[in-house]
């Protein structure tokens, strides 16, 4: 069973995006930058804004947006 945690609370260096709960325009922007459901991302700066690496790019996202990005947490 997988559970989810929002990106702003995510701890660790890498993870997978489970889903996004954001306004349409915002979600499209993120997806076009390579942050889509199922994508593996690396965290490179915590805090606000945070910096994630995915799809060959480095993207700064504000904390309020990170709240709408749900990460998959694998139970061990």
């Amino acid at each position: 069973m997988n559970s989810e945690i929002t990106l702003n609370h995510f701890i660790g260096t890498s993870g997978e995006i489970a889903r996004m709960d954001l306004p349409e325009a915002c979600a499209i922007r993120l997806k076009s930058l390579g942050l889509f459901e199922g994508q593996k991302v690396q965290l490179s700066r915590a805090g606000n804004p945070m910096i994630v690496k995915a799809a060959g790019g480095k993207i700064a996202v504000a904390g309020d947006i990170a709240k709408g990005i749900y990460m998959r947490v694998a139970h061990s």
């Binding site: 390579g34 199922g38 910096i51």
Partner: protein, 686 residues
């Protein structure tokens, strides 16, 4: 500065995107920051703005390219897009043009991708290919990729994409001949049927060897197959992997480490402050010596010319009006050159995006989005391109807030005024002068933040939208670009000095020379002020006479009308006139003061403008430029809205004169109020 009107005008005049002379139209498409504009500049020999920050180009721009002896095309540079499906204004410009939404579709697409980051940039290439138009892909940054040991297999890439692929470098010019010849072939041939999967299950993939064929089985069963974005990105990363011959993945550990410091919660702000202070104090330091040379050069020129010409009105026109007025402004050329050079280097380095990460939180607090940082910084050169650059801010509230405060930043047209005041307040102490400079910059920034906050509390309520920013890689700035850019801006400044300022100077000279004061009137005046003309020295008499002549002339009469308005902030009538003329363009105040204080008895030595101003006195012998007046003048110029072209751009970008009028009104009141406070505060202490 007023020079920028012209650049804005020429920018829009060839931005129509219309075909000229039946040339075929080729549109450039690609992610932001992949070097489209750099390639465009190289191909067309134009000098459109480039920088290492996504979203530099905000409007389309057309240029002519000779492909060979017989054929030329209209090349259209477009804003970068991450996807053709996006909705921000500048992305719509690109999208509409490529899709032919408002006019004919372009004859071909020139898709630009980044060799150092194919994975990221091929996504848009795929969207472009899906349009089914004749397409050519340029793999830019090829030299940079090679340096990092990354070799791209262009043949494989071309085969998989099903279109011609050329490796190029906008920096070195490599591959451009081939790009041109390939473009000519592409335009000559029949439109290739480009067959690409639409990504949806209903439409089966097309037979050409491209797109999905590079997806291996385990990749194609991802969780998100129906999502075109996931699909496209997986396709792109698979294709990128296949086309990198060397296979070695670029190590970006160094960049990560640098990023860690630059965006660190504690170190980041310190670095930020250091970079800003360093950049602006270098502008000041480096410019000092050449400015002094130019200043005394113009002084020598003036005394040389006045020796050549017979004494009289014509001599006065040339020496006081033209050399004094235009020269007074021209000496600031070194500062302008250095400012633009440094800004160009900074923009090219990739640091600015990190600065955005650092300042975003503070900016949001006053209701400005992080994206407004780059326009705010650009406003230190000139408010006009800065206001236009706010197009990258999607939210209207945020954009308005940014536009309203941008002119508070110290633009290059204010530098002459600051420099004169610094020289008067701190002659022979460059350190204090530098501090004064920095304070003026800082005052502008602080005022912008305060005003933004007040706007958020009143006229523009709401939260600034949240940051999503693609961080560009660090790159070695191009010295050539920075030099070209500085040269172009310097040239614009000179052209301005030679036209607008020359004209205003002549007008000011005429207004302050005519009508002439007759000898009888002068004697009457002296008598009425009970000055015993016979007893004072000749030199002093000349001085009195010059002052009386000026007051008698039209400008003196105008001055008397406006002087009461500015008296509370410590300006004499000449400064008041200078301030009034500077509402056309800020730097004009320097030429006006130069003329008004320069007219009169021949200075013995080659005196500089600063000397003339510092020694100016009221009729009762007190100094005009006291510390309080200097500070008040400085504060006024930091905060006042004195730039008609900026007003026009504000109107255009906000869509109404209301905002332009508001901007003018609040800035003028703010400037006057702050100058008043500064004048009285400083007067109390000195």
């Amino acid at each position: 500065m007023s020079a920028s009107v012209d650049s804005a005008a020429s920018e829009s005049s060839d931005a129509s995107g219309k075909k000229s002379s039946g040339d075929k139209v080729v549109a450039m498409l690609g992610n932001p920051n992949v070097g489209k504009t750099s390639m465009f500049n190289r191909l067309t020999n134009l000098l459109a703005k480039t920088s290492n920050f996504p979203g530099t180009t905000i409007d389309r721009r057309v240029g002519r390219v000779e492909l060979n002896d017989r054929q030329s095309i209209s090349l259209v540079d477009l804003p970068g897009v991450y996807t053709l499906g996006a909705s921000s204004p500048e992305e719509k410009v690109a999208r509409d043009f490529v899709l032919g939404e408002n006019e004919e579709v372009p004859d071909a697409l020139l898709v630009v991708v980044d060799a150092t980051n194919l994975q990221r940039t091929l996504f848009v290439a795929r969207e472009a290919l899906q349009q089914g138009r004749p397409t050519i892909v340029a793999v830019n940054f090829i030299e940079s990729a090679r340096r990092r040991g990354l070799e791209i297999d262009l043949n494989t890439l071309g085969r998989k994409l099903g279109c011609p692929v050329v490796g190029v470098s906008a920096r070195t010019g490599e591959g451009f001949d081939r790009l041109k010849s390939q473009l000519a072939i592409l335009l000559a041939g029949p439109a290739l049927p480009l067959l690409i999967s639409s990504g949806s299950p209903e439409c089966p993939p097309t037979p050409a060897e491209n797109v999905l064929t590079v997806l291996t089985d385990d990749e194609s069963c991802g969780s998100c197959r129906v999502c075109p974005y996931a699909d496209g990105h997986q396709w792109a990363s698979a294709l990128a992997r296949e086309s990198i011959r060397d296979g070695s993945v670029v190590s970006d550990e160094t960049a990560d480490r640098v990023d860690y410091f630059l965006t660190n919660r504690f170190i980041g702000p310190v670095v930020f402050a250091a970079v800003m202070v360093l950049a602006f104090s270098l502008v000041f330091w480096f410019a000092q010596v050449p400015m002094e040379w130019m200043d005394s050069g113009f002084g020598m020129l003036a005394s040389f010319v006045s020796g050549l010409l017979p004494e009289g009105d014509f001599q006065s026109l040339v020496v006081d009006g033209i050399i004094g007025g235009v020269g007074g402004v021209m000496v600031f050329l070194p500062q302008i050159l250095i400012l633009f050079f440094m800004l160009a280097l900074l923009e090219d380095s990739g640091y600015l995006a990190r600065a955005v990460v650092v300042v975003d939180r503070w900016m949001r607090r006053v209701g400005l989005p992080g994206q407004a940082f780059v326009p705010l910084l650009a406003a230190h050169a000139c408010a006009i391109p800065a206001i236009m650059a706010t197009k990258v801010i999607e939210n209207r509230r945020d954009r308005l807030a940014a536009i309203m405060v941008i002119p508070l930043m110290t633009c290059s047209a204010r530098l002459p005024v600051y420099a004169i005041i610094a020289a008067m307040l701190f002659p022979g102490s460059p350190l204090s002068a530098a501090i004064l400079f920095a304070s003026a910059y800082l005052l502008g920034m602080v005022a912008a933040f305060v005003v933004a906050f007040l706007l958020k509390m009143t006229l523009l309520p709401g939260e600034a939208s949240h940051l999503i920013l693609d961080l560009p890689p660090y790159r070695t700035p191009s010295l050539r670009n920075a030099l070209r850019y500085a040269y172009e801006r310097g040239w614009m400044f000179l052209r301005d000095a030679g036209t607008v300022i020359l004209m205003i100077s002549i007008v000011i000279w005429a207004l302050s020379t005519y009508p002439k004061l007759s000898d009888e009137r002068f004697e009457e005046q002296m008598a009425s002020r009970s000055v015993a003309v016979e007893q004072i020295g000749e030199e002093e008499l000349d001085g009195l006479r010059a002052a009386a002549e000026q007051e008698h002339a039209i400008i003196g009469r105008l001055g008397r009308v406006v002087a009461p308005v500015f008296e509370p902030i410590g300006f004499d009538w000449k400064i008041s006139v200078g301030v009034m003329t500077s509402f056309a363009a800020r730097e004009v105040v320097v030429s006006t003061l130069s003329i008004l204080y320069g007219l009169g008895p021949e200075p013995e030595d080659e005196s500089t403008l600063k000397d003339r101003l510092s020694s100016a006195t009221y009729p009762d012998g007190t100094k005009v430029f006291t510390t309080a007046t200097c500070v008040s003048l400085l504060v006024f110029f930091v905060l006042a809205m004195q730039c008609l072209p900026t007003q026009a751009v504000t109107k255009k970008e906000t869509g109404s004169w209301k905002w332009a009028a508001f901007q003018f009104g609040y800035m003028t009141l703010l400037a006057y109020g702050a100058a008043f406070v500064a004048y009285h505060a400083v007067s109390a202490f000195t």
